[in-house]
């Protein structure tokens, strides 16, 4: 459905995205992760046709994102990363304006969404809180029942309850077979809502994987509590294990799947008081790619 092929878009500052390739299949929900300035919004700008790429192509439903933008917009929902509404409009005026611009006649979905997010549409949008603006942005993106959704940090500014409700909305849309690409900083929501994950760093896609597979393929953390710290720490180090945080009575060890056997055999050489498995979340994986000590 969404097809990005060798997409390169450079800014005069030298930043941008470089040779980005990915695909989002019909009915798939993909999380797009990356630190600030990595190129998430730039990718979405290209997909919306706001910026003509320097080279490469991107298309949605077979239509070219730059040339056929108006055609694509008919079945597209979009939440901007930084939402700014047109000046001097009330909430309900804005929603009506967007419906008129799109030629939407059916307002049932809009009503459902307003109820779902407990949105109050009266009053000038300018005076609304960040969260309220975000809710209007969400309603605007979903109210015309689009087939494809491009969501740029859709839950920023929402309280935890509403973030939860948003994940429910995504799961509900997924059941209907919608194709969704969402950038996010909230690992929990990506883990819950998305099938696949893309991680972008310095304008290049560094990881493209199934959420579950990604979690499994990554190294696991163990916290081991030996009887004798010094000797056991030496044994582990000599065996070539990566040692994380060391406290006065415990050692953190990271291993990848194939080293499990070696790890157990090495640990058998000294007395172990306690062994804990450190559950690794997507966040840890992310930090592994982005943390200062990450490779």
């Amino acid at each position: 459905m969404i097809d990005v092929n060798g997409l390169t878009l450079k800014y005069p500052s030298g930043k941008g995205i470089f040779d980005v390739n990915f695909k989002v299949n019909n009915g798939e929900v993909v999380g797009y992760l990356g630190p600030n300035g990595a190129g998430k919004t730039t990718t979405i700008r290209a997909l919306l046709g706001f910026m003509r790429p320097d080279s490469g192509k991107c298309s949605i439903g077979g239509l070219d994102c730059t040339e056929d933008a108006p055609q694509i917009q008919k079945t597209l929902g979009y939440i901007p990363g930084e939402i700014t509404f047109l000046d001097g409009m009330n909430g309900d005026e804005f929603l009506k304006f967007m419906c008129d611009m799109r030629g939407t006649r059916d307002f049932t979905r809009q009503k459902q969404l307003i109820e779902m997010f407990e949105l109050e549409t009266k009053g000038n949008i300018k005076k609304f809180s960040k969260g309220m603006k975000q809710k209007i942005g969400i309603v605007t993106a979903f109210m015309h029942n689009p087939d494809v959704l491009l969501l740029d940090e859709p839950t920023s500014g929402l309280d935890p309850l509403m973030q939860n409700r948003f994940v429910e909305l995504i799961l509900e849309e997924k059941k209907k077979g919608k194709t969704i690409l969402m950038s996010s900083h909230m690992f929990e929501e990506v883990e819950r809502a998305c099938d696949n994950v893309l991680i972008i760093k310095d304008g290049k896609i560094v990881v493209q994987s199934d959420v579950i597979e990604l979690k499994n393929s990554q190294r696991k953390g163990f916290i081991i509590k030996p009887a004798d710290m010094t000797s056991s720490s030496n044994i582990l180090q000599n065996a070539g294990f990566e040692i994380g945080t060391v406290t006065k009575d415990s050692i953190e060890i990271f291993i990848t799947g194939e080293k499990t056997d070696l790890f157990i055999k090495t640990a058998a050489q000294f007395k172990v008081l306690n062994l804990e498995i450190k559950a690794q979340s997507l966040e840890d994986i992310f930090m592994q790619f982005y943390g200062k000590e990450g490779k």
């Binding site: 700008r45 706001f50 910026m51 901007p80 047109l86 304006f97 611009m101």
Partner: protein
Amino acid sequence: MSSTLFKTTLKKNWTLLLIFFGVLTMYMTIMISMYDPEDMEALMSMFKLLPPDLMKALGFSSLATDLTAYLASWLYGLLMIAFPMIYSIILGNKLVAKMVDNGSFAYLLSTPNSRVKIITTQGLYALSTVLVLFSALFGLGVTVCGAMFPGALDITAFFRLNLTTMLVNMVVMMISFFFSCLFNETKMSLSFGAGIPIMFLLMNILGGASTNIEFLKKFSIYGIYDPIKLVHGSEVWGVNLFYIGIIVALFIASVFIFKKKRLPL
């Protein structure tokens, strides 16, 4: 053109037009009421005491004694240029660059409307308000003159005057609009959208003040705009066509540039 967008733009901007129409209504009414055929000679002799260069620079050059020429020199010489210019600068920037700068333009483009359609709508709104403004001012002039000095106004000449004044102001509107489409930042859009029309006006004033630098007028869009000549009936279609040509060219250029450019939305 998108009628939904046109209506919304109108809803958000009609007050701006009304303010400028109000100010110009006030000036026009005062100017007409100050007209006194018998006093005109006395007034003229008084102005002869002022430095002729100064008068020429401000566009009050010809000795006008009939009502139509009186309005042409005192009202259309500067006020009907300067005030609509401010209007054009404000509106031109507001219609595109401001919305691109603050990001709200993203919402216009996230609907099934092409950039060309959106920009054409905004541009047509800009031009149509200038048309409305000068139609209203023409109507007002005819009405007020008819009430105060029945039969004194040469309506055909006054129409010619308003038509060309409207066109020169549409050129200014399109200059501001063009820079609004060209730049993504309000700062730049305003610098050029205001700077260039003001420069044209200053060139015209300076060029009129001294024969040494009269050539400056030739490079100003106002150089061929002569309200007194318009009233005195010489054919002005060449001037009008020239202005229409610039308006159309700038409009097309604006749409074309906006269609192609990258929008940081």
